[in-house]
């Protein structure tokens, strides 16, 4: 299964500040009553984007200037809480292809990786500055250079961080691990046969 090598992601940004934004907020549980991930994009951040009568609240993602955004900018511990892959799937289906945050919750980070959606960590001031630039000019082109661990926009650039294993997986086109896991079949059987509880 040959996958695209992801060496960089470019696009317009949307800035959703806040810390500890959990996966319930990214996709409220009631929209998870589905047997496929199709259509989740329209429920992204639903409760912070809509009043209870369904009308829109002021929110960066309701701003039509950011309708084409594909890079999300946010704060600390993004994606904490539930392990639901519905959260990264909703982001992906809404057109996002990467997230820049101060830090990420672990399960969310891994779930994004298997969708080919890089999550890079950056310093608060760099994100705030970029966020201000995006708000001033929604058409601003941002590039996340996965290979160089840097973000570029306008005349500016800053350093970002990502776990080496995740970065390596993007660069080598192995961010969906299934093919490599299957290749280990004989090793799997050997490991399993040494574990008595696997025999039951």
């Amino acid at each position: 299964m040959a996958l695209e090598k992801i060496t960089s992601v470019s696009g317009k940004g949307a800035y959703v500040p806040g810390s500890d934004i959990d996966t319930d907020r990214i996709i409220p549980a009631r929209f998870m009553k589905c047997v496929t991930f199709d259509g989740l994009g329209e429920y992204l951040f639903y409760d912070v984007r809509h009043h209870e009568d369904g009308t829109l609240k002021p929110h960066p993602l309701n701003d039509t200037n950011h309708a084409e955004a594909s890079i999300l900018l946010t704060g600390v511990n993004f994606g904490c809480g539930s392990s639901r892959e519905h959260a990264p799937q909703a982001l992906h289906k809404a057109g996002f292809r990467a997230v820049i945050a101060q830090s990420f919750a672990e399960i969310f980070f891994g779930n994004c990786g298997t969708l080919g959606m890089p999550c890079v960590a950056a310093a608060a001031e760099d994100i705030e500055k970029l966020g201000a630039a995006v708000n001033a000019n929604p058409d601003l082109e941002i590039t996340i250079d996965v290979e160089k661990n840097r973000v570029f926009y306008g005349d500016e650039n800053f350093t970002v961080h990502m776990a080496d294993s995740a970065r390596d997986a993007f660069l080598s086109g192995k961010w969906d691990p299934i093919a490599e896991l299957i290749e280990g079949d004989a090793d799997i059987d050997r490991t399993a046969s040494a574990l008595p509880y696997m025999a039951r």
Partner: protein, 475 residues
């Protein structure tokens, strides 16, 4: 060289190193439910793959099951579609399913232990972040996403980077009226909601040695709320006693051999930990949350934080956001906050001992006027055990509704939801914005006995005063 349980279990399950440096880790036990698995089965079909070890995946249905009546068809056609899909997938791929009619259905993290599927020294994964619960038995138990469920179905393995281990020692005894839930809320408050990122938590010390298996499960359950990928307690005689005779445990000579293996899997004395935290049990009091993150915790005797007193601007902003959502007055005592709904249940606190301990105090009291109170057993077996002891009747006599097994109001993927900005005293695990089903609904996390105290007084209360807890030691 001495090793931690984590190290030993990791090494025994490491299949090989992947090209990106991660480990291909064998996950011996895979648990699935209706919400996060259907898409994984879909991916499996799309790739033309089969389930590699069908006997190592176990399914139940919990999130979407209505608790007022489990009779099908469910009123919600989407919920019905989800249970139908799980049934069809289990049938097609040969996976054991603890279905509603089995008498063994329940919340996946209650079912695993009570069936004896959860065992020491094993690796367990489930598409649910509260999978850490199973760590109470000395297992490495991980919450995963749907793509990883596909990986497990197809290969029984997943790609993972090794975690660091933080030992959390809690020494001493809890004061009366203080419970395992208070311990974990206290730990999360001390270490923060993201303090555990990159870590497995090993819980130990005399408090955990003396804890029952169900108390250990309550603490391990909320490891993820502290950011830790998993949490565990070393197995001991209590673990073996709990497991003996359960359906999926080894029997006879095999049992004795298993116990020997399980004893050897515990962390060796003097093994290396990447970090150690020491906490005194005596310092812990009944705890409640005041905000929108599980680390927004205080003792029930304390005041709600005042952002004006906070010097760190980020923290001040976070307190302001939380208080605006919670509609709580800065600096005021949390005790006395009116509640609308009281919920006892969930994978954190929906087991026999939770209902037994609460019933002990609830007897002779009645739910305050205008308060809706529900008690939801974590499994059909818990329901039956409670009924055998007449606990359901004590709850009903006190004005609680006694429901059928499921996740219920913990996450509101079923009819149990808050309405508008109702405030819920909840024995569950998350107080996120909108978590309990209403976009403006409010949650205060606490122990089941504290929920009962809120139910009978109609306000957040110190259960020790309401129920005159004093001389009897906490169970």
């Amino acid at each position: 060289m001495s090793q931690s349980l984590f190290e030993k279990v990791w090494n025994a399950h490491a299949v090989r190193q992947l090209s990106n440096g991660q480990t291909q880790l064998l996950i011996g036990t895979h648990l699935i439910h209706e919400v996060t698995s259907p898409q994984a089965f879909g991916m499996l079909r799309d790739l033309g793959l089969k389930v590699k070890f069908p006997s190592r995946t176990f399914a139940t249905v919990d999130h979407i099951v209505p608790t007022q009546s489990q009779v099908e068809p469910f009123a919600d056609p989407l919920a019905q579609e989800m249970i139908n899909a799980l049934r069809a997938n289990c049938e097609e791929f040969g996976v054991t399913f603890f279905d509603i009619g089995s008498g063994h259905q329940g919340i996946v993290h209650v079912v695993g232990p009570e069936q004896g599927i959860t065992q020491p020294g094993t690796t367990i994964a489930c598409g649910d972040s509260h999978t850490a619960t199973h760590g109470a038995f000395g297992a490495i138990a991980l919450g995963i996403g749907t793509t990883q469920i596909r990986d497990l179905l197809a290969t029984q393995t997943m790609a993972l980077s090794k975690l660091k281990v933080r030992r959390i020692n809690v020494e001493g005894e809890l004061p009366p009226g203080v419970y395992a839930k208070d311990v974990v809320l206290h730990i999360i408050k001390l270490l923060g909601a993201k303090g555990g990122i990159g870590y497995a938590y090993e819980y130990g010390g005399s408090l955990f040695d003396n804890f029952s298996m169900e108390e250990r499960m309550t603490v391990c359950n909320m490891s993820i709320e502290g950011g830790a990928r998993c949490g565990y307690v070393n197995p001991d005689e209590k673990t073996f006693e709990y497991l003996k005779g359960r359906p999926y445990c080894p029997q006879g000579d095999e049992w004795d051999a298993a116990v020997e293996r399980w004893k050897a899997i515990a962390s060796d004395p003097g093994c290396h930990y990447d970090d150690v935290v020491d906490i005194r049990a005596e310092d812990i009091a009944p705890s409640v949350t005041w905000g929108i993150s599980p680390d927004h915790g205080i003792f029930v005797t304390e005041n709600i934080p005042d952002p004006a007193q906070e010097s760190d601007p980020d923290k001040r902003e976070s307190i302001e956001e939380a208080l605006e959502y919670m509609k709580l007055p800065a600096g005021a005592p949390i005790a006395g906050t009116p509640v609308n709904v009281c919920f006892i249940g969930s994978c954190t606190n929906g087991r026999l001992s939770d209902f037994r301990e609460t019933a002990k105090y609830l007897k002779g009291h009645h739910v305050a006027e205008g308060v809706k109170a529900i008690a939801v057993p974590g499994s059909q077996i818990v329901d039956q055990l409670c009924k055998n002891e007449g606990l359901d009747q004590i709850f009903r006599d006190a004005g609680f509704e006694w429901r059928e097994a499921g996740c219920s109001m913990c996450l509101a993927m079923n009819p149990d939801k808050l309405i508008g900005d109702q405030l819920c005293a909840s024995s569950s695990n998350r107080n996120f914005k909108g978590r309990q089903g209403s976009p403006t609904g409010r949650t205060i996390l606490m122990s089941p006995v504290m929920v009962a105290a809120a139910a009978v007084t109609g306000v957040v209360s110190d259960a020790r005063e309401v129920f005159h807890v004093g001389q009897t030691a906490a169970v």
